[in-house]
Amino acid sequence: MYKAIVIGTSYGGFEALKIILPKFGEGFPLPVIIVLHIGDHSNENFLNYMNSLCQLHVKEVESNEKIQKGFIYFAPPNYHLLIESDFTFSLTTDEKHNFSRPSIDILFESAAWAYTKELIGVVLTGANSDGAAGLKMIKDFGGLTIIQSPCSALAPEMPRAALKIAKPPITLKLEDIAGKLIELSIS
């Protein structure tokens, strides 16, 4: 029933993703699309490392690329990542949003337009409020929304802001998130 998972995270996100992403097995049926605030510079080393941990193929998004299952996509540093209604990616160099580029809100908002109710949105640890408005939009459009429980987050501000604004139905400890996503992906 779901067609994609979008994840947003910043401070502590690297550690959190290391717990979640390697649990997705080879046949995981949904593309996973991630904005991680990582600074302006190339994240080649980070991607290589993540690839070595994961069974799915981890890659940085390219402009106009078609979204496919079997992949974990990361937004390139210093570009906003958007999803088109034909399920391809586009990139922009627009102004920072919530002091961030890539911005989680911008990904989530465009994903909500493209996937409407067939989307799962997840907000993990982070030290600002990017992603809260986007998560609300996913929920308003009928998608499923999940946050990491603030008390299990290295930086609770981001899931806390998402909790306040989006009121997601599901709050999970970090170690329970991968299992839940796997369960939802096959439901």
């Binding site: 586009s90 990139l91 160099t93 102004e95 949003h97 337009w113 609300k136």
Partner: protein
């Protein structure tokens, strides 16, 4: 140039557009882009739509209009309103020596090739407010080539060209630019090239003497003849695939044999139908050379 205000967006989305009529919004946007093309000749019909949608919803929010159809009505009837809207659709975020590694590669791999010409032409397509054109001028001056070239810097947005012609930028951004300049392999200090005045910096006129700023639209206008180097960075990302192909073809036709094309670091000719007409000079920095056929 305008801060994005998504609270406006989201409130408006809840008012008129939601998950049940997402298609309606897409239809109205398609009609609006068609209307703009027919009325004003600006062709956004093959731009990536997610970005356009975001900008349109933002404009709806701040204009107190409740649908794209209402927005279209005003755009068709009020030229001044359209000009404002044009700013929304134009890409105006740039910085000096953006992606310093690119400028480093330009200096090390392309400048020696340009040096072999007695005289050469450069086209900076989609120059926006000019920060990257001034960066290029500084680089050419340091390499002793500024007197041997003509630079055409173009954009479809006349407002940004006005800013580019002035060469006046905010002082608050200079620290970052200085850092970029040093990382790009600059041999002096950026402050050698500008004078500070109040909150602004003014770049030396010597740098812009060789630059012709001109109104040119990549989508609807024609080739530039016999250019040796084209820079078009972070413009193609805003286009759908077919339009990207068309514009890369336009660049091919504008370049002299062995002419150089520089794209943004997330843009590639790899998947273009003209990809085989270029060879790679620097894959990472997206620098290509027109093959001699």
């Amino acid at each position: 140039m305008k801060p994005a205000n998504d609270e406006g967006n989201i409130n408006m989305v809840q008012g008129t557009y939601n998950e049940s009529n997402a298609d309606l919004l897409n239809i109205e946007i398609q009609l609006l882009l068609e209307a703009i093309f027919l009325r004003y000749g600006y062709d956004f019909r093959n731009y990536s739509k997610a970005h356009i949608k975001r900008r349109i919803l933002h404009r709806l929010g701040i204009s107190m209009l409740s649908s794209v159809t209402q927005l279209q009505d005003r755009i068709l009837r009020e030229r001044a309103f359209f000009i404002d809207f044009l700013d929304d659709l134009s890409i105006n975020v740039t910085e000096m020596f953006r992606d310093p590694e690119f400028y480093k590669s330009l200096r090390e791999t392309i400048i020696p090739k340009l040096r072999t010409y007695a005289y050469f032409k450069i086209w900076h397509a989609g120059c926006s407010t000019g920060e990257e054109v001034f960066s290029l001028s500084i680089l050419l001056k340091e390499e002793g080539l500024l007197d041997r070239c003509q630079v055409y810097a173009t954009d479809f947005n006349r407002n940004v060209l006005e800013i580019a012609r002035e060469g006046v930028y905010q002082k608050s951004d200079i620290e970052q630019y200085e850092k970029n300049y040093q990382l790009s392999g600059g041999s002096k200090k950026l402050s050698d090239y500008y004078k500070s005045r109040y909150g602004s910096v003014i770049f030396d006129k010597e740098l812009s003497n060789k630059i012709v700023f001109a109104d040119h639209n990549l989508v609807t206008d024609n080739v530039f003849a016999d250019v040796n180097l084209i820079l078009c960075r972070n413009v193609l990302i805003y286009f759908e695939k077919e339009l990207q192909d068309k514009v890369i073809g336009l660049f091919y036709d504008s370049l002299v044999p062995s002419g150089i094309l520089c794209l943004g670091t997330k843009e590639s000719i790899k998947f273009s139908r003209h990809g085989n007409l270029f060879e790679i000079v620097d894959e990472k920095q997206r620098i290509y050379k027109k093959k001699i056929m």
